[in-house]
């Protein structure tokens, strides 16, 4: 078995398994008929779409499979970050002291999955919104900007999030 | 106490939805209307979950789950359609 074929098989299996997991979550029942239908359907959909779900150049298992412990830790951290920055926006709505500005910076994360999650996390926390994501280049609308220097702004906006995200994905 | 909390939050969310509708109707630009719609969809999701928990029926929460997953497809359609329209107008 050549390395290309093996990589195709791994991608196919991971796609099928994640589809089956979604099926279990949505139906929430464990009868035989439901399980067989879900398994057949997820294998069929995976055969059609595994090229799109995991692109060929994402060569590495940790590019798209998260480390479970760090992922759960990251979810709780995310909720903490949301409340922390919500308080800042709450104060700024009351006092009206804001300095909105658009900043650009780069990220050092390697996989597409981690970059997507980083952009979504930045949008999720009130106070920062990702306007555009081009490969590793983010355009962010920042509500309390102190600087427009690319590196400093990047450190302040994504610093903590990126540090924890590096442990979850590559 | 439980009934009071859930019912009170439902009334609060209904008030929020009404204010969001006023925001959508009074803003003049397309982006302003879309911002109001974005906030409105989150409020509607919260209302569906509150209703399902206060009635204690899992079926209502399934509706909320589907609304959660496919809610943003509406924005995607509106944004895609209006972007083409606005760019076409500016090119002519």
């Amino acid at each position: 078995m050549s390395i290309e074929t093996r990589w195709k098989l791994i991608r196919f299996l991971i796609t099928a398994l994640s589809m089956f997991g979604l099926w279990l979550i949505f139906t929430a029942r464990f009868e035989l008929f439901s399980l067989v239908t879900g398994l057949g359907g997820s294998f069929f959909v995976a055969a059609l779409t595994y090229e799109i779900f995991i692109p060929r150049h994402q060569a590495g298992i940790n590019f798209f499979v998260p480390r479970p412990f760090h992922l759960i830790l990251y979810l709780f951290l995310m909720i903490f970050f949301i409340y922390k920055s919500s308080l800042a926006v709450l104060v700024s709505v009351v006092t009206g002291r804001v300095n909105p500005r658009i900043v650009h910076f780069r990220t050092s994360l390697k996989s597409d999955m981690a970059r997507m999650v980083l952009a979504n996390s930045i949008t999720m926390t009130p106070g920062t919104i990702t306007l555009d994501l081009n490969d590793d280049h983010l355009t962010v609308h920042w509500f309390f900007s102190t600087t427009s220097h690319s590196k400093v702004a990047g450190n302040e906006v994504k610093g903590e999030i990126e540090k924890h995200l590096k442990k979850v994905w590559l | 106490m439980r009934e009071f909390l859930l019912t009170g939050m439902q009334w609060f969310i209904i008030a929020c939805i009404l204010v969001c509708i006023i925001r959508i109707l009074t803003s003049r630009t397309t982006s302003g209307k879309l911002v109001g719609l974005n906030v409105l969809s989150g409020a509607v999701l919260a209302f569906l979950v509150l209703r399902g928990v206060s009635e204690g029926r899992a079926l209502y929460l399934d509706v909320a789950l589907v609304y959660d997953i496919f809610g943003f497809l509406g924005f995607l359609g509106i944004a895609r359609f209006l972007k083409d329209k606005i760019q076409g107008e500016s090119q002519e």
Binding site: I79, P100, I129 | M9, C20, R23, S31, N38, A64, K83
Partner: protein
């Protein structure tokens, strides 16, 4: 009145405070980006607080499991919606709003607008 009800009441109180602030912010700021930032107080934080409160008040396991699943998918779907709106606003070429006093202070201090983050049209 059990301990779960008290915790749920605290979560709902946070939801009310953030929700009122988000509604005020929707009317207070003049441009779509800032309104989106303030509106995400209601659209994200308040809704998340309501989910936590309902999780504490849920009557049985089936309902609680559904609420957890809805919470997980909300963490994906909410920023996607905000991002679509923000990207649409950016692509049609809306400039971000700057407060008047800040701009005057900057002009007095520097003279030139070299600090100005001029939004470039992306291709």
């Amino acid at each position: 009145m059990s301990i779960r009800e008290i915790l749920a009441a605290i979560a709902f109180l946070a939801a009310v405070v953030f929700g009122v602030a988000g509604l005020a912010g929707l009317f207070r700021f003049p441009d779509p980006y800032s309104r989106l930032q303030a509106g995400s107080l209601l659209g994200t934080t308040s809704v998340l607080s309501i989910f936590i409160g309902t999780l504490l008040l849920s009557p049985n396991g089936a309902v609680a499991a559904r609420v957890v699943v809805i919470m997980l998918f909300f963490l994906i779907s909410s920023p996607t919606g905000s991002h679509i709106v923000a990207r649409f606003t950016w692509n049609i070429g809306t400039h971000p709003w700057r407060p008047k006093s800040e701009e005057k202070k900057k002009q007095r201090k520097a003279g030139t607008g070299k600090d100005e983050a001029a939004p470039e049209e992306n291709p």
